[in-house]
């Protein structure tokens, strides 16, 4: 399997505190991998290091076979990211936001691309609204549209569904699954919703206190721990220390 992302001996220390402690993993093309773990486990730090937003203390990150330190711009043009904890400028209209990012990514025919994504995420009627006026579920869908503007090969989603109602969350998962199937999109995903992981992820990596504790398909993990579901696995891992 072609490796899209590979992380080796990655560590990050903030003022003496080890947020990420020597982790290594890789993600194959077309996989949806869940990065799971309790609050403060180091998930966001890991993702932000792979996006070049945080400088690792140690370790190497390879994306599309290229080293992140030396090929950052090249890599970033084919990667994207969305999260519940960031937002787009509220004082811009939705279309202004999407056009801006499409231009930043150098998307050809960007007006058409925005139209396509707007239809896909059912946000066409929202395009002329100010982003700040959107409900959180609407904003999340706009964020996801932004994250797909450049037709990324690798997508990072940090708790993308945490502000969504169960209905919209379900629709977002189905949409992601659909895109993954159609375009062999690779996704690294964090969430605290274990049902979501069972439904969406091909594989899950559990981290705790900056270290990888276990990894495998959701089924393998449930079996390995001899538990009923992934939720119980999570709780067991979280309470181990």
């Amino acid at each position: 399997m072609e490796k899209i992302l590979s992380v080796k001996n990655l560590s990050k220390t903030f003022n003496g505190v080890r947020a990420v402690n020597n982790i290594s993993f890789s993600v194959a093309k077309g996989e949806i991998v869940g990065l799971l773990g309790p609050n403060g486990a180091g998930k966001t730090t890991t993702i932000q290091m792979i996006l070049g937003l945080i400088k690792p203390t140690r370790g190497t990150i390879t994306v599309f076979g290229k080293n992140l330190e030396t090929h950052r711009m090249e890599i970033l043009s084919e990667v994207n990211f969305s999260s519940a904890y960031i937002s787009l400028p509220g004082n811009l209209k939705v279309w202004e936001n999407l056009y801006t990012f499409a231009r930043l990514y150098g998307v050809k025919n960007y007006k058409k691309r925005v139209e396509e994504l707007a239809r896909f995420f059912e946000i066409t009627p929202l395009l002329s609204k100010l982003y700040v006026r959107l409900s959180s579920g609407q904003a999340t869908r706009v964020n996801l549209a932004k994250a797909l503007l450049n037709s990324p090969k690798l997508l990072f989603l940090d708790e993308p569904t945490s502000s969504l109602d169960p209905d919209i969350a379900d629709r977002v998962r189905k949409l992601l699954k659909k895109i993954q199937k159609e375009q062999a999109l690779t996704i690294l995903y964090t969430t605290h919703n274990m049902i979501e992981v069972e439904e969406l992820c091909d594989r899950a990596i559990f981290i705790h206190q900056g270290k990888i504790v276990t990894e495998g398909t959701p089924k393998q993990l449930i079996k390995r721990f001899g538990l009923k579901d992934l939720n119980e696995v999570f709780i067991k891992i979280a309470r181990k220390s």
Partner: protein, 263 residues
Amino acid sequence: MKWHRIYALLLRYLYLYPRSVPRILDIFFWPVTDLLVWGFLTIYLQNIQPDAPYFGRMLLGSLILWNFTNRSQQGISIAFLEEIWEKNLINIFITPISLKEFLAATILVGLARIAVLGTFLGTAAFLMFHFNLLSFGWYLVPFILNLFVFGWVLGLFATSIIMRFGQSAQVLAFTLTVILMPFAAVFYPVSVLPPVVKHISLALPISHIFEGMRSVVLQQSLSPDTIVIASVLNIIWLIVALSLFFFMFEYMREKGQLSKLVD
């Protein structure tokens, strides 16, 4: 450097203006208030000192030129703060944009702001107080260029401070030029300053520009040295400010502050 990315950011900032009255007022309000105060003062001065008409020209010239520095400084600081306020720094910096392209966009925003403001203030001063900014002739070009660049230097400093100390330091972004004003010999010559302050003043490129402007008004001439000194000082300041800016950006990456500055 890719133009499409610079253009994207430029539009992103320009989108904001047409629909925001406070933003438009922000460009015009203070400069116009200043113009009125100083304009009426010059009329008063002319009444009590009719044999010194150059006073009015100097004051109004200083005032308008000062605004070039002040507004250019705000151009970059506010662009950066805008992204912090809107929690947009991450979105911007995970696109393939480079820091240089980001800076280029802020320069263009600053230029657009001072072009609009300069034209407006120049016209208003002419219509209300019979002051013709264009009477400085070609000297205006090096004057404005130097004032603009130094404003940008101050913007880089203010932004670096915000990167280091977070949003609580944002008040600096708005006051840095004001703090510097007494040292910059805007309305009075460097010669009236006490010796220690004089040294500080002479280290600032814009002091030389204001001295030069007064020389044009009083002697109708300007030594080319003045422009050379101002430009060399500006280049030195610019190198320092840019180094600091890039250093602080790396510092933010090191400390994981790019997403935390919003807090």
